[in-house]
């Protein structure tokens, strides 16, 4: 990988080792990588979808928050 930028590389990669882990989940049939914020919320990192129209859906855009709803199985 080669960075071609006017910003010095040191400034770009500063703190790269602190990257928080993300996990894959499936929501409405779309696989997405999310970063958990707490037990109920997660932020979308990226979509993994073969349907290009999913990438135009503002609800799925990276940075959006998704919510988990806990329930008791009876």
């Amino acid at each position: 990988m080669i960075m071609y930028s006017i910003v010095p590389l040191d400034d770009i990669i500063e703190g790269i080792e602190n990257n928080e882990p993300s996990q894959e989940i499936e929501l409405d049939g779309v696989i997405m990588q999310v970063q958990p914020m707490n037990s109920y919320q997660a932020r979308i990192v990226r979509l993994i979808s073969p349907n290009p129209q999913d990438y135009l859906n503002p609800a799925y855009s990276p940075g959006q928050t998704i919510y988990f709803h806990p329930h008791i199985e009876t």
Partner: protein, 245 residues
């Protein structure tokens, strides 16, 4: 009368901003407004900050994720409602492969494309800026043309130089093929000394970019929409077998 009408139209929008406006939220969260308005036949795409490629960049970088941009371009190409694509650039550069991938995607679209450089279209932003059918640069916008620097996993052998030269050749070739600048001129700008304080290269501002043949014209939003609408009309005509609708 006209002014009154406008004022009343503006007011509800400011009220809306107090509520959760998805577009505003998108911009806050993502730095990007990817909402496709149903009534617009133009798909507007912004390429801002660093073009993020194979490496996830730390959060202090504002990034454009290429794996998100590319399917959006596919969707825009495929979506019947979209007739033209407006690409707005304000980028400091980024990953060579990701940038070239975006540039190649834009240049091979069948629908009319117009790029507009606002603020800056530096480094890998240059091939993206020239990839469209028609490129516009704002008068105050700049483009930094400089050589690709040594970074990443590199071992100090003579072949390293050759590899770097090859990487650079990809950028030079793309730019010269998609704009009116000659290879000699582009390389001259790229390797110029005494222009940049920390690097060799040239800072090309607004009208200079047009003078060198890199960009088609100096202008702003009105030039961009006018050109895009003109190209959309031409596109419709060719699609309808030359019939004027």
């Amino acid at each position: 009368m006209n002014n009154n009408q406008k004022a009343s139209e503006v007011e509800p929008q400011t009220n809306d901003q107090n509520n959760k406006n998805p577009t505003v939220e998108n911009i806050q969260q993502l730095g990007q407004n990817s909402t496709l308005q149903a009534e617009s036949n133009i798909f507007c795409m912004t390429i801002i900050g660093q073009v993020e490629g194979h490496m996830v960049l730390p959060p202090q970088n504002k990034t454009t994720k290429y794996e998100h941009i590319i399917p959006q371009l596919v969707a825009a190409e495929q979506n019947a409602k979209v007739e033209g694509i407006l690409i707005i650039l304000n980028t400091v550069g980024g990953d060579v492969e990701a940038g070239l991938a975006i540039a190649e995607m834009i240049s091979t679209m069948s629908k009319p494309t117009v790029t507009i450089v606002l603020g800056g279209g530096h480094s890998i932003g240059v091939p993206i800026a020239v990839s469209s059918d028609y490129s516009i640069i704002a008068e105050t916008a700049t483009m930094t043309i400089h050589p690709i620097r040594l970074n990443g996993l590199v071992i100090g052998v003579p072949q390293t130089f050759e590899y770097l030269d090859k990487m650079q050749e990809r950028v030079v070739k793309f730019v010269t093929e998609h704009s009116n600048i000659t290879e000699e001129k582009f390389k001259e700008l790229m390797f110029k000394t005494g222009e940049l304080t920390r690097d060799i290269g040239t800072n090309v501002i607004g009208s200079d970019a047009v003078k060198y043949g890199l960009i088609d014209t100096v202008g702003g939003l009105s030039e961009a929409t006018m050109e895009l609408n003109k190209k959309i009309d031409e596109y419709r005509q060719t699609k309808n077998g030359g019939m004027v609708q």
